[in-house]
């Protein structure tokens, strides 16, 4: 900030320079301190407590069944910005994509009475839900698209979820940044939300590769990174401690919050 007449009247030149330097020094020290705090495990854990509060309050306000806003067709974005993986290179995925995912199957297993293995055609003949919803990226931008696919609750019902199951884990075929395979998880309450669907269609077209072909998750009350793309399997588990980095998802393993409702 530039000094104005008023402040130069109060401070002499030398004094002002001294104060400026002191302020700069304190600011630099403060910044280094903040960075060190951000790397301190205990601090991160403490700050993370707010996320529990976020989850409880948001769930309380929205209710288990509160619906995310849906939009008229006129508001659909012509280009739905893809993010994260947009063209998976894993050889298995390339092969499946080469034959329009005819060989692809979605495996539903884990703590279920009857494991399912479904082809894309089978998923497409099931009763489906079509919804025009807004996608919010954790980075801050939003896009509206029309999604179609079976409601996850119906698939879970068909497979028969065992009482000890608490989470639904989504396994993906893409390795973001050429590292670990992407994965995500929802608790059963969010997984059974009426707008939680497995989408095979975007804006009345088959789901493009950039947006997660052949099948992606839509969990409309959470941020974009929860909505796993390039699905290959779904498992029901009691805990996700022993999956991936143990935090319930690819980005969660890298410090992002699990519920991601804000």
């Amino acid at each position: 900030m530039k000094g104005n007449d008023a402040s130069s009247r109060i401070f002499g030149r030398g004094r002002r320079r001294f104060l400026q330097r002191t302020a700069l020094g304190v600011a630099t020290l403060g910044l280094a301190g903040c960075d060190r705090l951000s790397q301190n495990e205990q601090v991160v854990k403490t700050l993370g407590l707010a996320e529990r509060l976020n989850l409880r309050v948001q769930r309380f306000l929205a209710g288990e069944r509160g619906l995310a806003p849906e939009y008229p067709a006129s508001m659909i974005d012509r280009h739905f910005r893809p993010n994260g993986s947009t063209d998976p290179q894993a050889s298995r995925y390339r092969q499946l994509a080469a034959s329009q995912f005819r060989e692809w199957r979605l495996e539903i297993g884990g703590l279920v009475d009857e494991p399912l293995s479904l082809s894309l055609a089978e998923l497409q003949t099931m009763p489906s839900r079509t919804q025009i919803t807004r996608h919010d990226c954790v980075e801050g931008w939003s896009a509206i698209g029309q999604w179609r696919g079976p409601v996850l609750a119906d698939l879970l019902e068909r497979a028969g979820v065992r009482p000890e199951a608490r989470y639904v884990v989504f396994h993906c075929m893409d390795q973001l940044g050429g590292e670990d395979y992407y994965y995500e998880s929802l608790d059963l309450s969010e997984a059974r939300h009426p707008q939680t669907i497995l989408a095979y269609s975007l804006n009345d077209e088959p789901l493009p590769i950039a947006n997660g072909a052949p099948l992606r998750l839509r969990a409309e009350r959470q941020l974009g990174y929860k909505m796993a793309k390039y699905l290959s399997g779904i498992t029901l588990v009691t805990a996700f401690d022993d999956i991936g980095g143990g935090k319930g998802g690819y980005w969660e393993d890298r410090g992002y919050t699990w519920y991601a409702g804000i």
């Binding site: 707010a50 509160g66 619906l67 508001m75 910005r81 990226c137």
Partner: protein
């Protein structure tokens, strides 16, 4: 009964009572952390839009970098139809090897390096602290009479507001020893009952789960990206308020002002009626 009267009169001598002082200093820390983590979060996508979604071709504010004709990288900021070269501050900043493409520079973001999730953790923790302290303060202000006695403008101050504004514009300040002047009260009321609630509500409207709870509020702000823009603009207004606030402190005896906000200070107990008493004191 007797006790409480004594208690009240002892308190009345203080220029700033304990809850006001506590709130003031909690706010200082909350606002610093909230602002710096806000800019960290903003840097993840340094562009703002109106409406529900992001029309990437048409943000009303955007910070980015381009390679100039001479091969040097330039930071640019586009605001509506105008584009400014903001190299070193917005769009592209940092010195030497640490120079990078980023919205706001590293000395004002928390953490200093690009780390979105850490910024979010800081932001939400301190948002809860801020909201909790703010809610307690509003209750206190309502029930203790602080609002009516110290913040609300009596009729004479409403009438004198035009003059007050002119005086401030001429940098002619009346350092009132009793209470706040009209313009000052109005800015405190504006922050307390307009800016801060707007910050909380527009912040909540960026939550997809909260949108499911209150879709009407999202409509009120004109969509999620509008809510994000308003959140950013009002944050800017709060920064402006803090700058003016600091200037006023500097111009009105900074040592006494800070000391009184720490210790409570002593209220000048010249018996005056509230009506019209404060405006021309200390002239």
């Amino acid at each position: 009964m007797n006790n409480s009267i004594q208690h009240a009169s002892r308190h009345r001598e203080r220029r700033h009572r304990l809850p006001v002082r506590l709130w003031h200093w909690i706010n200082l820390w909350c606002l610093i952390v909230l602002l710096m983590s806000c800019l960290q979060i903003f840097n993840a996508h340094p562009a703002l839009y109106w409406g529900s979604t992001s029309n990437f071709d048409d943000p009303w504010l955007e910070m980015y970098a381009i390679r100039g004709a001479d091969g040097d990288i330039q930071g640019q900021t586009a605001l509506g139809p105008w584009t400014f070269d903001t190299t070193g501050i917005l769009g592209y900043s940092g010195s030497g090897d640490h120079a990078s493409v980023r919205g706001f520079p590293d000395w004002i973001t928390l953490p200093s390096y690009q780390f979105l999730t850490m910024g979010r953790l800081w932001h939400f923790f301190f948002a809860w602290l801020f909201v909790g302290a703010g809610a307690l303060f509003v209750l206190y202000a309502l029930f203790s009479g602080h609002l009516k006695r110290d913040l609300w403008l009596p009729a004479s101050q409403w009438r004198g507001l035009g003059r007050d504004i002119l005086d401030h514009l001429r940098l002619r300040f009346h350092a009132t020893r009793i209470g706040y002047n009209g313009l000052q009260k109005l800015s405190y009321l504006g922050v307390l009952f307009v800016a801060l609630p707007l910050m909380i509500l527009t912040g909540l409207c960026m939550s997809p789960t909260f949108n499911a709870a209150a879709p009407w509020l999202l409509d009120l702000f004109g969509g999620r990206q509008s809510a994000r823009s308003i959140h950013f603009i009002v944050a800017g207004l709060l920064v402006l308020f803090v700058i003016v606030h600091l200037l006023m402190v500097l111009l009105s005896g900074p040592f006494r002002q800070v000391r009184d906000m720490l210790t409570g200070g002593r209220r000048n107990v010249t018996p005056v009626d509230n009506e019209g008493s404060t405006h021309h004191e200390g002239k």
